[in-house]
């Protein structure tokens, strides 16, 4: 009996690796040839950046159970840190700026995660909200961060990685893709080691975790640090590769909520879920606006679009929480399981 169990285990693992490989082939091989500029610039690049931010947040909120409503603040920290490192240290490769930016975001994350020693749940969320408002204020108020640019909007520097220069929509897409792939692999690794299990233990039963000897406070801070590092890098990607400007306005509370929605809809405590959720969030407004103008014509202006988007997004959240609290990932898994059982039964009964 145990041999069958191990056989299916290896098969499912093999299938996961194959799927990942297939995705990489499509992403690196097919998309650059068949993708339009619009697809690359307006859909794929923001999708990747948001996915990475969601992966980061999921580590903290989905796995470790610490609710954070300040994700955008950590993204902003990353973006501005990278900009300033790149600007003020001549000859610093962008890779180094990226890593340093992540480290800055991690530091801020740990700072606002310190209250987790004594706070839980909503109360901890208050701390992250404080981060959100405070960081946004600092970055707006002190012109030094924007290089004292009078308009407050600064251009992002050109992208390069390990000496290769990434220009144009395709270049930026490939840059983003590479960074996201690397960091997602790291996140996946974290989750499958004991550290990831410590996160889950703290989320599921903090008292028991403490009793069996998990260093709870240190682990929470680790979660804040790792999560904010990834989120910070995502912020750099968002600003440098997608928007190509660095400004505080795009990293507001709405953005923080957006990332929270992504992980709820995609599936908490799931790396894949971040991508599912981000895909929906990025693609859905496009579909909605096409649908709306097709159904309602001129009546469907941008104001109506904005409001309907809000309503439908809110509805989606509630529907998912009621019907499938484990998110799109759970739906996907159920679908693929019933598909494979249908094909299996077809094989047995041709």
């Amino acid at each position: 009996m145990s041999t069958i169990a191990t056989k299916t285990w290896t098969t499912s693992r093999l299938r996961a690796w194959l799927a990942a490989l297939a995705l990489l082939i499509v992403a690196y091989g097919l998309v650059p040839y068949f993708g339009t500029t619009y697809l690359l610039e307006a859909i794929l690049t923001p999708f990747l950046a948001l996915s990475l931010a969601a992966v980061g947040l999921n580590l903290l909120t989905g796995y470790a159970g610490q609710l954070s409503l300040g994700t955008a603040a950590f993204m902003a920290t990353g973006a501005f840190a990278a900009y300033n490192f790149n600007l003020r240290i001549h000859g610093l490769p962008l890779t180094a700026s990226l890593l340093l930016a992540g480290a800055c975001a991690a530091a801020i994350g740990i700072l606002f995660g310190l209250p987790s020693l004594r706070l839980r749940g909503f109360y901890l969320a208050v701390s992250t909200l404080a981060a959100q408002f405070f960081v946004q204020w600092v970055l707006t108020k002190f012109g030094w961060f924007s290089n004292n640019n009078p308009s407050g909007v600064i251009d992002a520097p050109p992208l390069s990685l390990f000496g290769f220069s990434f220009e144009g929509p395709l270049g930026r897409y490939l840059f983003t893709l590479t960074v996201v792939v690397i960091l997602t692999a790291v996140a996946q690794r974290i989750v499958s080691t004991q550290t990831g299990h410590h996160f889950i233990a703290i989320r599921d039963h903090e008292l028991a975790a403490r009793v069996i000897g998990i260093p709870v406070f240190r682990t929470k801070l680790l979660a804040f640090g790792l999560s904010s590092f990834i989120v910070g890098v995502a912020g750099v990607l968002w600003a440098f590769a997608y928007l190509r400007t660095v400004e505080p306005a795009g990293f507001n509370l709405d953005r923080s909520f957006q990332i929270v929605f992504i992980i709820i809809i995609g599936g908490l405590a799931s790396i894949r879920g971040a991508f599912f959720g981000a895909a929906l969030i990025v693609v859905f407004p496009v579909i909605l606006s096409c649908l709306g103008s097709w159904l309602f014509g001129g009546l469907f202006d941008s104001g109506v679009l904005d409001m309907s988007q809000r309503i439908i997004l809110g509805l989606l959240i509630i529907i998912f929480l009621i019907v499938e609290p484990n998110g799109l990932v759970a739906l996907w898994d159920r679908l693929s399981q019933s598909l494979s059982s249908i094909t299996a039964s077809k094989r047995n009964h041709p």
């Binding site: 609710l67 749940g121 701390s127 405070f134 809000r310 309503i311 509805l315 959240i317 929480l321 009621i322």
Partner: protein, 298 residues
């Protein structure tokens, strides 16, 4: 000795206290719902916006004041019942964090619906209270703020009396204390929750009218909820008195900080100061000033 302008200090302080009262108006709605169902209703701000927008739009379409008020009240009642049926009942045994996320989604729905129905432009709101400042002992006080404080006080008195002397109020308190025991004595939870959310809706309407008259009725009204959170942290999530005291403290400290510390750092600290105060407070006294201390029984 530097000539310290005490009159100015008092003025700022009083202004801050009265602004704090406005925060309390919103926070009281939170407390109502949290006290009876343990749900932190993030959609309270959206409800404020919705109530104010409905009222103002009816007014603008020529309806008389009192009719508009009654219709808006009716709408908030329907909203309360709908929320209980559609959102709360299916999620009844979920952990509090899930319910909080649901109210997050709810806030998006209500905000979107309000503006889809009534439009996104700013509406002015005239309540017949003119905002002429008057002087007491050399300190300028806004008449409007005083009326707001009076209304808030009135509401607290009404609510306290309601909880203590009416059967429904008693039922609210029973549910807040122990849901299962309440069920055991035959209290119908769905009805009570619908009533609670309606009450919160009424409170939201009052808050919406006051805030709308002061700021104009527009989308940013729903962001007032963000200021209510530090108020709740200070006052305790389940105490109406705490909502008042917390509001006063937050309002006062915010204004004082803005006036005295603000210029040193370029201003605009009102955006986050309340949160930092709340955070510091949380680290010293996690349950808030009047909240019930949680005894963690393993």
């Amino acid at each position: 000795m530097i000539n310290f302008d005490f009159a100015f200090l008092i003025e700022v302080l009083v202004g801050g206290l009265l602004a704090g009262v406005m925060y309390s108006l919103v926070a009281i709605g939170f407390v109502l719902i949290y006290k009876t169902s343990g749900v932190l209703n993030f959609a309270q701000g959206a409800m404020v916006l919705f109530a104010a927008l409905t009222f103002v739009s009816l007014l603008e379409r020529g309806m008389p004041f009192w009719l508009s008020l009654i219709i808006t009240l009716a709408v908030m009642v329907i909203l309360g019942i709908a929320v209980e049926r559609v959102v709360l009942r299916p999620l009844v045994n979920q952990p509090p964090i899930t319910l909080f996320m649901a109210t997050l989604g709810l806030s998006y729905i209500i905000e979107g619906a309000a503006q889809l129905l009534w439009g996104t432009q700013v509406h002015g709101l005239e309540l017949g209270i003119d905002d002429t400042p008057f002087e007491i002992a050399g300190v300028l006080i806004s008449k409007f703020d005083l009326v707001a404080a009076a209304i808030a006080a009135g509401m607290v008195i009404l609510l306290t009396a309601f909880f203590r002397y009416t059967r429904i109020g008693l039922a609210f308190r029973a549910v807040a204390d122990d849901q299962f025991a309440a069920l055991a004595v035959g209290l119908r939870l769905p009805q009570i929750w619908a009533a609670v959310w309606t009450a919160a809706g009424v409170v939201a309407l009052v808050a919406g009218l006051m805030w709308g008259a002061r700021l104009g009725v527009q989308f940013s009204l729903s962001l007032v909820v963000l200021k209510a959170l530090p108020v709740l942290v200070l006052g305790g999530f389940d105490s109406i008195l705490g909502a008042i005291v917390g509001g006063l403290l937050i309002g006062a400290s915010e204004k004082l900080a803005e006036v005295y510390i603000g210029p040193m750092v370029g201003g605009g600290i009102e955006g986050w100061f309340a949160y930092v105060v709340a955070l510091v407070f949380l680290l010293i006294r996690p349950a808030g000033l009047f909240g019930q201390k949680l005894v963690e029984r393993a």
